[in-house]
């Protein structure tokens, strides 16, 4: 299969996945639009990206930014926050302040949740944050097999996510 044909097939699959994911969070029409915009960006700006290992994370990143942008736009328009005129606060014109605050809050919640984990999970996260790969973690922690490390990490991630309320961003 030619590279462009393979890429087109990947994009078609990606579109299908993106629409389904976005539709679970917003209206179907909006999800279709979002997927279309994402694909247009991949076609026009990132036409040189052809490998799935790069294309999929890139598309996920674009989708996340577009969903965040849509949420903020809805908030600005007051679509979900109909309040009295007297209660409306003056807008902060710094476009990134909301994102900065959300990011800071998420970091603090994450730090608090991580500090409450058990010894093995703390060690697992310490190694991961230090950039160690799973095979390296296996050696460092003396695990019998790589699968054991995967299982440990899966459990640690699950415990951390539970302490975060089931969603990294706290928006579920």
């Amino acid at each position: 299969m030619e590279p462009s044909a393979a890429r087109n097939e990947m994009l078609a699959r990606l579109r299908e996945r993106i629409v389904a994911f976005a539709a679970s969070r917003m209206g179907r029409d909006t999800a279709e639009d979002l997927a279309q915009e994402t694909l247009m960006l991949l076609e026009e700006k990132y036409a040189h990206v052809e490998r799935l290992e790069e294309l999929l994370p890139l598309s996920l990143r674009i989708v996340r930014f577009k969903i965040l942008a849509l949420r903020r736009k809805s908030l600005r328009r007051g679509e979900y926050t109909q309040v009295s005129v007297a209660d409306i606060q003056l807008p902060d014109l710094d476009a990134d302040s909301a994102a900065w605050v959300e990011r800071k809050q998420m970091l603090e919640r994450l730090a608090r949740a991580m500090s409450q984990l058990g010894a093995r999970c703390r060690e697992m996260w310490r190694l991961k944050l230090s950039g160690k790969s799973f095979p390296e973690i296996q050696q460092a922690m003396g695990a019998r097999s790589l699968n054991t490390v995967y299982t440990w990490d899966h459990r640690c991630r699950k415990r951390l996510l539970e302490r975060m309320g089931g969603d990294w961003e706290g928006k579920s």
Partner: protein, 314 residues
Amino acid sequence: MRRELEKLLGGYAAGILTPAEREALFAAALEDQELFDALAREEALRDLLAEPAARERLLAALEEPRPHPAARLVAWMRRPRGMALAAGLAAALVAAVVLAPRRSTPPESRPVEIVEVRPPAAAVAESQSEAAEPAPAPRPLRAPEPRPREPQPEAAQDLAAAPPPAPQHAPPGPPAAVADNVATAPERRELSLRTGAGPGHARTLALARDQAGPLRYSIAGAPRAGEPFGLRFESREPGWVYVFSADAQGWRFIAGTRIDAGRPAHVSLRFDEPGRRELLAILSRTERPDQRPGAIAPLPPAAATLRIVVEVAP
């Protein structure tokens, strides 16, 4: 296969997957919607962990020594959940000691942590109007009594001992009155219990002697100011659950979700200020797509209501 590949999700966010692991994970995600969704949900964490300063902050948090197990136990006991469990265990111990010699008498019922399941006057009216479903006989209602804003500091106060008030019908009134109507059937006598670790940490629990109400709820996590927490609902009948918050202007709609019979439904809430919040959860058989979060809204027709008191800690 997917279960195996799901174990790589933690490595994806941390950016430590080997090329082979990435290839396997992404190829599977392209074919599997659930795996793709899980990857997409990891994006926020991945984005955060891509920042070196954030990694440093988290590594610093991990380096902090964990307190001694005894100190952690004390800290845990001071948390509302810990206090509630400790109080529950103490109550169970006392009950076991008191009831042990009379084991031949059957236990009345096991207390469960649910809160004030009260079919309101509106619900009675609705069920009476529906011919398809046999409506229960209207229960005698008593007018709302002034409730203490803060429960008594004693561990438990048995309201069941109080004689039932004379039955009378509460007048139709504003939403607050609907929420405060209390059925006085003997089986609905409630036992209130307050636990907590000081101001802002107190939680009010009510132990009802039955689970007859169609709607039940529980709180996931300890509500803290500025942090999201979850309300988990269970219903014996399908419908829509709408959650309202009381303020000076009336009932403000804050969240809603579809609920199926016997299947839990969740809503996520967040209060930016600490303090006591009075919420009203309504199980409705009709969808109200016009409800907008944050807006003062008329209450939907109720099949059941649930009054929820949440103490938001600082």
